[in-house]
Symmetry: C2
Subunit: 399 residues, 2 copies
C-alpha cells in the first residue's frame, strides 16, 4: 500500500484541535481530559489500521502489528508542553500510524509523559522495564503537586497492566521529530539524520550567605550569596570555552535568590545549570571544569557553594545501520537536501536505545520555535519527513 | 519631670504584643487591624501625656504639644515589615512619647507607612506637603495590589484632613532608631550619632534576549539574556571598586530570569541594582561607571541591556548643631562609648530634612539583625538611647 500523505496531514490537523490553545498551539498536559481524548482517538485509529491497540497502566498507547516480522517499533508522545505546539511528539506518533496504515510491520507507541508533567520519561521507561511501582507511588504533578496515582485512578488506568517490550521482537526503534532548533533551516536543508542524542548533566549550584539589610551592612561585613553566584557563573563563562567541543552547549536556565528583594542582600542563591554533548570525554572535561570553578570560588569567596546533581543522562549514539538506511532514503528522496546532525534535545529514543537499536529523523522547525504555540513546520517538510522515514524503514528491514 | 525609663520599656513591650508574630517578632503591616490598634493606642497615650492627638487622613498619628516653644519634632513609624521586628520604627515613636511625658516641648509623630506597604514614605512626605491626592489615588498595596483609597476608607481615614508641618514651629526633628547593622556592636559601642543619611540610587537593568530550547540551540545561535546579565553584574563587581568611597555599598538584591526554567534559555533578565553613599560626587562616579558597563555590554554582547531608574534619593547630611548637642549628650552619659557614623538605611528623617534641620541617633542591633523577628537590642541600650536623646534635645533647645 502507498503512504497516505493526505490522511497523515489530516491526522495531524485533527490532533491539533484536541486542546487547541492560543490560536495555533495546543495545551494537552498528560492525563488532562484533552490528553485522554487524544489517547482514545489514537486507539480507534490504530484499530482502524489493523493494529491490536490498548492504553496500558501508565498511559502508553500501544498498537501491536498482527502480522509476521521482522518488526520495527515507531512512535513518540501525544501530550504537549503547557500551551505548547502542535507537532512536538505528535509528528512521531502520527507518522508511525501512517507507516502501519501503509502496511509496514510496525508497532506504534505513544510513550506517555515525555514532556515530564509527572516524571521523567515515564512511558518509555515503563516500556523498557525501568519504571517501578514505587516510583509511580511517589510521583507528583510538577505544577500542582497532586499524586500520579490519583490521576491514574481518575482516568481509569490505575491497576491496568503495563506493557513491556517483547524481547527479540524488534530490529530497531524509529522516531520522526521536529528539530526544535534552526540548524536545518539556516543551512537550507529539509531532513536531518540523527547521529546520536546528546548526553545531559544537570546540576544545582547552591550558595549560602547571610541575608542582611543593604543599607546597614558594609561591603566588608557582607556575605552576599547572589554576588558569589554571579562570580561563579562569570568564571564558567570564561573557563568553559577552553574545554568544550564544537557542539557543546551549557546553560544557566534558572537563578533563584532568597529573598530576591531589591533592598535585601541575598542570603541564598540557587542556580540550575546544565550542559550537553555527544562525547563522554568532553562531558567529563566540562564536569571537571565546573568542579574546579566551584572549588576555586570556595577557596576565595566568603560564601560557600556546593554542587548537587539533578540528573545525568549519557550520550546515546544512534544505530549505524539504521542511520545508513535513513541516509540512503534521504539522498534518494531529497538529494543534497539533508545532513547528519546530533540531537541536542532529549527524546524517548534515548530511553529506548538502552534496549534497542534506535534512530531518529528531524524535519525543520520554522524559526526554530518549539515549546510554544508558534511552533510550526512546512506541510511539504512534514510530508517529506514521513516519506524518508517510510523509505528508511523499508530499506532497514530489507537489509 | 524625670524620664520614666520603666514606662518607656513597658510601652515598647505593649506594642510588641499588638501583632506579635513568630515568637519574638511583630507582623503589623500598614492599615492592618493590628496596625490600626497600635495607632489608636498611641492616640490614647499621647492624650494621657497632655498632647493634642489625632490620626490624620494618611494615617499619621500626630501629638501636638500644648505649651509654648521653641519646639522640636520627634518620632518614627509604628507599622512593621511583614513578620518583622519589634523595634524598627517603634523605638523612635515610643522614645518621642517618653520625651513628651518628661515635659519636653516635643510634638510626637508616627509617620505612616515608612515601611512602604503602600508607597514611598507616604506619612512623612504628606507632613512636609510633598504627597498629592493624585498619588494617593494611584497607590496600591505592594503585596496584593488593592487600592490605598479602599484601605483608607475601611479604616475610617479617607476624607480626613492631612496634617501639614507648621512653618516656623520647630527648631529641628529628632529620630532615635536601631542601627540595623553591626558597626556599633563590632566596635563595642552603645550609641551612634548620625552624620547623615546616605543617598540611594535604584535601578532596573533589563536585558532582552531570545527564549529558546537549551538542547536545540547552539551557542552561536543563542541570545541568552541571563548570560548577558551575569556578565554585566560581573563587570560591575570588577569596576565599582575603582570609583567607590570607603563607605559606599552596592547591591544586586533581585534577579528575575524569564521563564526561569532549567532547560530554557532565558529570553529576558531583570536586575534590581542600587548603590548608596553620603557623597554626591562618589554617587555620580558610581552612576557613570554603571552607564559605562552597560554601554560596553551593548557594544559587545548580542543581548541589549537598558537602565531604568526606580528611584533616586539625595544624601541628607544631619544638622551640625543638632549633631553637636547629641555628641555632647552621648559623651556626658556614655563617655567613650559612642561614635559618629552615617546611616546606610533610609529613614523618615531623610524626608523631614528637606524642610527642617534633622538628626538621628542609633542604638546597636544585636548581631545586626533587622526586618526579621529576631531583631533585638539590649534593654540597657534602649534606655541609654532614650537618655542620650532626651539630653541632646535639652542641650539643643538651650542653645
Amino acid at each position: 500500500m502507498p503512504l497516505d500523505i493526505d490522511r497523515f496531514l489530516h491526522d495531524l490537523d485533527t490532533l491539533r484541535e484536541i486542546g487547541r490553545s492560543n490560536g495555533t498551539g495546543v495545551h494537552r498536559p498528560t492525563f488532562s481530559p484533552q490528553d485522554m481524548e487524544s489517547r482514545h482517538w489514537l486507539v480507534r485509529e490504530m484499530r482502524e489500521v489493523g493494529l491490536d491497540a490498548s492504553i496500558d497502566g501508565i498511559g502508553n498507547v500501544f498498537g501491536r502489528h498482527k502480522g509476521t516480522g521482522p518488526h520495527v517499533l515507531s512512535g513518540s508522545h501525544l501530550e504537549t508542553q503547557n500551551h505548547g505546539g502542535w507537532l512536538d511528539g505528535v509528528l512521531g506518533v502520527v507518522s508511525a500510524l501512517a507507516l502501519a496504515r501503509a502496511g509496514l510491520p510496525v508497532d506504534v507507541c505513544a510513550y506517555c509523559d515525555e514532556e515530564g508533567h509527572w516524571g521523567d520519561f515515564l512511558g518509555s521507561r515503563s516500556l523498557i522495564g525501568e519504571l517501578t511501582d514505587a516510583e509511580i507511588d511517589r510521583a507528583k504533578n510538577r505544577h500542582d503537586g497532586s499524586p500520579l496515582r490519583d490521576a491514574l485512578k481518575k482516568v481509569g488506568l490505575d491497576g491496568k497492566p503495563r506493557i513491556q517490550l517483547e524481547d527479540g521482537r524488534y530490529k530497531g526503534a524509529f522516531e520522526l521529530h521536529i528539530e526544535q532548533g534552526t540548524q536545518l533551516e539556516n543551512a537550507g536543508l529539509r531532513i536531518g539524520v540523527i547521529t546520536g542524542i546528546v548526553g545531559i548533566r544537570q546540576w544545582r549550584i547552591i550558595v549560602e550567605g547571610q541575608q542582611d539589610h543593604t543599607g546597614g551592612t558594609t561591603m566588608a561585613e557582607r556575605k552576599d550569596a547572589g554576588l558569589t553566584a554571579v562570580r561563579i557563573l562569570a568564571a564558567i563563562d570564561t573557563e568553559f570555552p577552553r574545554v568544550v567541543g564544537p557542539r557543546s552547549v551549557w546553560t544557566t536556565g534558572r537563578i533563584v535568590l532568597t529573598p530576591n528583594s531589591p533592598q535585601i542582600i541575598p542570603g541564598r542563591a540557587e542556580i540550575s545549570f546544565s550542559f550537553r554533548d555527544l562525547s563522554p570525554e568532553i562531558m567529563a572535561a566540562m564536569e571537571a571544569c565546573m568542579h574546579a570553578v566551584v572549588h576555586e570560588s570556595n577557596r576565595r569567596d566568603r560564601c560557600q557553594a556546593r554542587l548537587e546533581v539533578i540528573g545525568h543522562a549519557a550520550p546515546s549514539p544512534c544505530d549505524p545501520d539504521m542511520q545508513s538506511a535513513l541516509k540512503d532514503a534521504a539522498e534518494a528522496l531529497c538529494p543534497g537536501g539533508w545532513q547528519s546532525m546530533p540531537s541536542g534535545a532529549i527524546h524517548d529514543s534515548q530511553v529506548l536505545s538502552r534496549k534497542l537499536p534506535a534512530a531518529m529523523l528531524f524535519v525543520p522547525s520554522i524559526r526554530g520555535i518549539s515549546h510554544h504555540w508558534d511552533e510550526d513546520t512546512k506541510r511539504e517538510d512534514l510530508a517529506l519527513g514521513l516519506e524518508v522515514l517510510a523509505e528508511g524503514v523499508r530499506r532497514f528491514l530489507a537489509r
